[in-house]
């Protein structure tokens, strides 16, 4: 037993956690409005739409914007809507990059330097994100899991934004400007509790597993283990619903389908995705158009996965800029057009995929993941109350995911390795 870890874990006790119930009660008072998109589509919630689309194997699309400011958003979004309508294309959901300072509590945020992304000050600023009738907003980074989790979560809910992340970032990211891990944990748990108060309204906590654990999990079974741990904390302990996302570090089409199958196995009929990503960063830097190859490969197999598993994950159409460079409307339209062309090949492509073999492989991931989750919880139970979510989250954060995964993974069984090395096949 690692003495350092023992000390860390023993320090994670004794906190008054009445703030969780308080957060729940405050959140219950929030009336979540329907976004403009929900109103236009006629669905009571984003989750209801996903459920219906998924049940008929429908393909949904997602892209991401890196607007430098709100003026750019106000200029580009209506123009994009017009272009999409002209081409008969649909963009079901969009994500936006918030300025990194949005992760910090408000008082620290204002003091930080020049803004590099969307900076939302008032409730109206948040509302604006949900004012576009042609697409539903999604908020990923620097929301739940950040030091400003609770405040941002409540503002987003009040705007009608009902899927927000990124819970894996709590465990996987750090904020040098904010070192108070207890306060950050408190805010994150409060945010999850707030989401849990509105599970019946269809709200979902997004978690991009690659973001949080990509460099900490050497194999896919371990990644599933972390998904299960998140599920335990957010769903079992706090009553929320998690939508797991992945894809940046999955180059192999086989592995993409195996992982999706595993997510379906752990979530069952309650599987609700956010999205599956291609490698957003792009492998080709000089000639960006060459990234179309990777994008199309990902899209075709991700579409096949949706037809088969019906998890409601959107297929993403970004593969070359990451989340720092803004793409043009023309590029988005072009890539949605590519996706539409690919859809025609889907029925024949499905015939070439051996789903039974994929599901069997996925079952091994799930077995390995369950063992890891159980081992971690069992280990923690020596030191903390594992029914108490604040303690569990703080303990894992302090102990470190990488160490826990290395020490507590089953050493006897092997599993599919992740494709973390971005440039290998």
């Amino acid at each position: 037993m690692d003495i350092e870890k023992k000390k860390i874990l023993e320090s994670v006790t004794g906190t008054d956690t009445s703030f969780i119930q308080q957060a729940r009660e405050e959140a219950q008072a929030i009336q979540i409005p329907r976004s403009s998109w929900c109103e236009a589509e006629g669905f009571v919630s984003e989750k209801a739409y996903k459920s219906v689309m998924a049940s008929k194997g429908g393909i949904m699309y997602h892209t991401h914007f890196c607007f430098p400011d709100r003026e750019s958003m106000q200029r580009d979004m209506p123009a994009l809507q017009e272009q999409l309508e002209k081409q008969g294309l649909v963009l079901d959901r969009f994500g936006v990059s918030l300025d990194p300072s949005m992760a910090l509590p408000a008082e620290l945020r204002r003091r930080s330097g020049e803004k590099a992304g969307l900076y939302l000050e008032t409730q109206e600023d948040w509302n604006e994100l949900a004012s576009y009738s042609f697409s539903q907003p999604h908020l990923g980074d620097n929301m739940i899991g950040s030091p400003a989790s609770y405040d941002s979560c409540c503002k987003a809910l009040r705007a009608g934004i009902t899927t927000m992340g990124n819970i894996s970032q709590f465990f996987g990211w750090d904020y040098p400007e904010f070192q108070d891990v207890e306060a950050r944990t408190r805010s994150t748990v409060m945010a999850i509790a707030a989401m849990g108060a509105h599970t019946e309204d269809g709200v979902l906590i997004h978690s991009n597993l690659d973001d949080g654990y990509g460099d900490k999990c050497a194999d896919m079974g371990q990644l599933i283990g972390m998904a299960l741990l998140e599920k335990y904390i957010a769903e079992d302990l706090l009553g929320a619903k998690v939508a797991h996302s992945f894809g940046d570090m999955f180059h192999s089409p086989y592995k993409r389908l195996v992982f999706l199958s595993a997510l379906k196995q752990i979530h069952g009929d309650e599987a609700f995705g956010s999205m599956v990503f291609a490698n957003k960063l792009g492998r080709e830097k000089r000639n960006l158009d060459l990234n179309d190859a990777h994008l199309c490969m990902c899209m075709l197999y991700d579409m096949a996965g949706q037809v088969r598993y019906q998890t409601g994950h959107a297929v993403t159409v970004m593969a070359d800029r990451g989340l720092d460079d803004q793409v043009t409307n023309e590029e988005i339209v072009r890539k949605l057009g590519l996706a539409k062309q690919l859809e025609a090949y889907l029925p024949e492509a499905l015939k070439t995929i051996h789903f039974a073999a994929i599901d069997t492989e996925a079952a091994y991931l799930v077995m390995r993941g369950r063992k890891l989750r159980d081992n971690i919880l069992s280990y923690l139970s020596n030191y903390i109350d594992i029914m108490e979510p604040y303690s569990v989250m703080l303990a894992i954060k302090k102990a470190g995911v990488k160490g826990l995964v290395e020490e507590l993974s089953d050493k006897m069984e092997e599993s599919l390795p992740t494709d973390y090395d971005l440039y290998s096949h």
Binding site: G42, F43, V44, A48, Y49, S51, V52, S55, K56
Partner: protein, 462 residues
């Protein structure tokens, strides 16, 4: 009203569709195993919950609610007419058009033995027809006497020569039997008037449906069951063919629904003479439905094999005759059987292709060569040779592989006699959302929305 909640109480599934009326699109569809034999409210509430999940409870409560039912497999009818070619055909058209299924036909002078055999068929209603206006009365009154004196305790619809109507009704009333008088189905040569008979059949059907368990409470929540499901599908097909004032229809078309027990064939086209043939027999309706009760994927698969021939089917499915027969036994004993091997999938496809082929050929008319002065050919039945669109619905056509090749079995094959008046070439589509019953229900309220949702559900597969 923003939404319409459209429900079908079937004998296998209770189905629901929610339609966004202003935008004329289907928001969601779902289905649940039928509960009409236990309590229909269970299925109703499952449907309501599914719609509420999509649009919210308030929107559901405010939505337009319409429903259809094919519960208990459709009204069981017998038709007694004077001639096979005229009154029997007309009676069958009326029965099918109203959504019933015909268990027995009798033509000519009925005998007491016919009545006894009829009593054994478990019919629920008898359609007695025959005689033009100012035409034959004797035979139809004789048949009324035979039926009146029989042990049958079912309502009779009299749709024959109206001059004999009151007397026929007195015969039945004297014998303690209920009798409905409707307009003559064949009032004159070349004329057909099945509407009044269909309306009465439908009303009796509705009354029977509402007597099922839980249906009275269903009525409290959703209003009256509007119509039998086949009638809703007929109305939908007619709308899709004809279009509305603002949106064109598809023109002449056919629909095929291959089910477990039956294959339903619908055609929507004006019957015209093939080449110079003289048309004889009962006038064919624009919207025609036939139900082949011996052509199904499960309960009646053995009949398909008997009709088509086991050796032929086995060869086409590339299996042994023994395997084919054993597979059919499996389907008979377990109607929920799902084909799970390549051989079983081929057998399923072969059963479907034969069911479609045989059913369409029974539905269509044919040319008879004659040698009389001035006439070389006579046409009996409906000419479908100019129909070029076929829509498939039913499990194997919507979710199976290569439904196009199955639907193309409705087309005249190489080497086949040209006397069979089936289509010569076809554009094939499938109703991927199972939305036709819903469109039929919606038609009276918003025909443009009904037409739009059907067109959106169609997927071209040829």
């Amino acid at each position: 009203m923003k939404y319409a909640t459209l429900i079908d109480f079937g004998s296998t599934y209770t189905k629901v569709a929610c339609v966004h009326l202003p935008e004329r699109r289907v928001l969601m569809t779902d289905r649940f195993p039928s509960t009409v034999h236990t309590d229909a409210r269970i299925g109703l509430h499952q449907c309501f919950d599914a719609v509420a999940g999509a649009v919210g409870r308030t929107a559901l409560q405010e939505s337009l609610k319409l429903s259809s039912s094919s519960a208990a497999g459709g009204l069981r009818m017998a038709v007694a007419g004077l001639t096979r070619s005229l009154s029997i055909m007309a009676g069958r058209n009326a029965a099918f058009g109203a959504g019933a299924k015909v268990l027995a036909n009798y033509s000519g002078w009925l005998t007491p033995e016919d009545a006894v055999s009829l009593e054994k068929t478990d019919v629920e209603i008898v359609l007695l027809c025959g005689g033009y206006e100012k035409g034959n009365r004797t035979m139809v009154l004789h048949n009324a006497e035979i039926l009146g004196a029989s042990g049958l305790q079912v309502p009779v619809i009299y749709a024959g020569n109206s001059e004999a109507g009151q007397m026929a009704r007195e015969i039945f009333c004297r014998n303690g039997k209920e009798c409905f008088l409707v307009d003559n189905i064949i009032p004159a040569v070349g004329q057909m008037n099945t509407g009044p008979a269909e309306a009465v059949i439908r009303n009796i059907f509705m009354k029977r449906i509402t007597n099922m368990i839980g249906m009275d409470r269903v009525r409290e929540e959703i209003g009256e069951i509007l119509m039998p499901t086949p009638a809703a599908v007929m109305m939908a097909g007619k709308l899709l063919s004809e279009g509305t004032e603002t949106d064109a229809g598809l023109g002449g078309m056919m629909m095929v629904d291959v089910g477990g027990a039956t294959t339903d064939v619908y055609s929507f086209n004006k019957n015209k003479g093939y080449h110079y043939a003289r048309m004889v027999g009962a006038a064919e309706p624009f919207a025609k439905r036939t139900v082949e009760g011996d052509m199904g994927m499960r309960e009646s698969s053995v009949c398909v094999v008997e009709e088509a021939g086991a050796e032929v089917m086995a060869q086409r499915a590339e299996v042994s005759v023994g395997l084919l027969r054993a597979s059919v036994e499996k389907r008979l004993s377990d109607t929920s059987f799902l084909a799970d091997t390549p051989e079983e999938l081929r057998i399923d496809r072969e059963i479907a292709s034969q069911a479609i082929s045989i059913s369409v050929r029974r539905h269509a008319g044919y040319i008879e060569k004659v040698h009389s002065k001035g006439v070389r050919e006579i046409q009996r039945g409906k000419n479908l040779t100019n129909v070029e669109t076929i829509i498939g619905t039913g499990g194997i056509l919507v979710s199976g592989t290569d439904p196009n090749s199955l639907l193309q079995c409705a087309v005249l094959q190489e080497g086949e006699r040209e006397e069979i008046l089936i289509p010569r070439k076809m554009r094939a589509l499938v109703d991927r959302d199972y939305i036709f019953y819903a469109a039929g229900l919606l038609r009276e309220y918003d025909p443009d929305a009904a037409l739009t949702i059907m067109k959106s559900s169609l997927l071209e597969i040829s």
